[in-house]
Symmetry: C2
Subunit: 300 residues, 2 copies
């Protein structure tokens, strides 16, 4: 294996992904491992990185490793303190992570924090930096769907505000662990999804009882396959749209993420008459890590 010029890494709660970069900016190798931050004590990060990257490191010099994501959380490798708003990608600093192998020089990028209302994100800032590197003049609202979906406002090249909804996590908890799991099958009924989104977005005050209706309906008057799962997803997504209405109303929303999740959010926003544009977010993390590394080098 050719040694990497430097290494970019996205170190999340459940997964470590890394890219070995050549001096000309091309990708020599892309790898991933299940050694997510969630299962590691601070001293386990360096061995986990070496397990995946040892043959990518040149002997006799320190290879630069730039990391974004939960590795910088308080329970991660080392805390990379949150950067405040407004935040411009180019101005990002980084926190040096302790390592003993002389072939490593590791820095972790900060997440973002907002004072009022209190909110935090970590990892998504690098996807946003990647998007802004490709679209420097962008102004508006970015939605990044996921376990915790982020709604991020960008103005004059800076993140100025954001909000988090736990929609993906709530859906998984209710679908897999609540009494509603008995009503779930593997299908997906888009019309039930859209009806539930609209119902919760327009009548969020009813969601607490609408949830159990999914169970009662399955017992009394079985719905078509895929209806229960779609309704559950739709209720939580509609509640999220109700909470973020002040951000997206009257806007065209840019939805960054995987194809399936962005399609779901575009459909949900469409029930509210809101325009949305899906953007494939998979490559943006690497673009953002490259931009962050350029920024770090420019800053010396």
């Amino acid at each position: 294996m050719t040694a990497a010029d430097w290494i970019a890494a996205d170190w999340g709660t459940s997964k470590l992904r890394l890219w070995a970069m050549a001096g000309d900016g091309s990708v020599l190798a892309a790898r991933s491992a299940a050694s997510g931050m969630g299962g590691l004590s601070p001293e386990a990060f360096e061995p986990a990185l070496l397990a995946l990257a040892d043959d990518l490191l040149a002997p006799g010099r320190a290879t630069e490793v730039v990391i974004c994501g939960m590795a910088g959380a308080r329970q991660g490798w080392i805390e990379a303190p949150y950067a405040p708003l407004p935040w411009r990608p180019a101005a990002a600093g980084a926190t040096t992570a302790p390592s003993t192998d002389p072939r490593l020089s590791v820095r972790i990028l900060p997440g973002l924090c907002q004072d009022d209302p209190p909110d935090v994100l970590r990892g998504e800032e690098t996807q946003i930096a990647g998007f802004l590197a490709e679209t420097p003049d962008f102004e508006g609202l970015i939605c990044l769907p996921g376990t915790h979906t982020k709604w991020v406002r960008v103005a004059a090249g800076a993140v100025t505000a954001f909000r988090t909804a736990m929609t993906g996590e709530a859906f998984a908890l209710f679908a897999e662990r609540s009494v509603l799991r008995h009503a779930m099958d593997e299908g997906w009924d888009e019309s039930h999804f859209r009806a539930a989104v609209a119902q919760a977005a327009n009548r969020p005050e009813r969601v607490a009882t609408d949830l159990f209706t999914i169970r009662a309906r399955a017992l009394l008057d079985p719905a078509p396959p895929g209806a229960a799962r779609a309704r559950l997803s739709g209720l939580f997504l509609g509640l999220e749209l109700a909470a973020t209405r002040g951000m997206w109303v009257g806007q065209s929303v840019t939805v960054l993420g995987s194809a399936d999740l962005t399609a779901r959010y575009v459909s949900a926003l469409d029930t509210q008459g809101a325009a949305a544009r899906p953007v494939d977010g998979t490559r943006l993390t690497l673009t953002g890590l490259c931009a962050a590394r350029d920024g770090l080098r420019a800053a010396g």
Copy 2:
């Protein structure tokens, strides 16, 4: 052990409780076991009952056993079909459960179902029957807090409508299994609870983002001990009050249950200016089972 005249049983998802009754209506013995419906296949119910009650059964005759709760669910001992609304306790029928031991004669009481909006309950109908046996002239709204809280309207001696909120289950899932578990401690801050109830009851459309604020606050500006747990409980309870507002507004609510749960609901309703009266619900299930058995005997 003296043989029972008959046996009353409350067979829930996680627990079996039974009472051996004497001919004069007194309780000879009260017992419980962890053999809840959730862990039993249909053929395992009779052995589970015998394991707890064998020495209470007279030889040479069939002892009557009257059961309420999830043992009558589709996945239980045998399905005891739901009774429709309006429902009067005295008119309750029962479903005979199959048993092979000649010392057993087992009947399971029905749950209740509502067509529109679709809803079901199973077990609470017997607590309500017990309450109405003690308070025959009661008219109004009963709240039965629990894993799934039930709000039940009673008029002219009959249950006329009800709604279910999954508040207890939602709280447990988020407190124990979501990212918010990192913010939880064992304390309880009542002022944070009341503030969160009011916030969600008055602004239910914000709950989707207010939930993650609990996590962000813990990271950025740690709240006093007990605040995070109380806020999480308060948000879900406030969302429940928003969903049930049409039932409780302008009413005095009778809250049936354990002392800690009824106190929490009384406090929550108080934030909305609603009067509520706690009633110790622990004995009402047995009272209801006795009333149901009287009804079954009167019906032949």
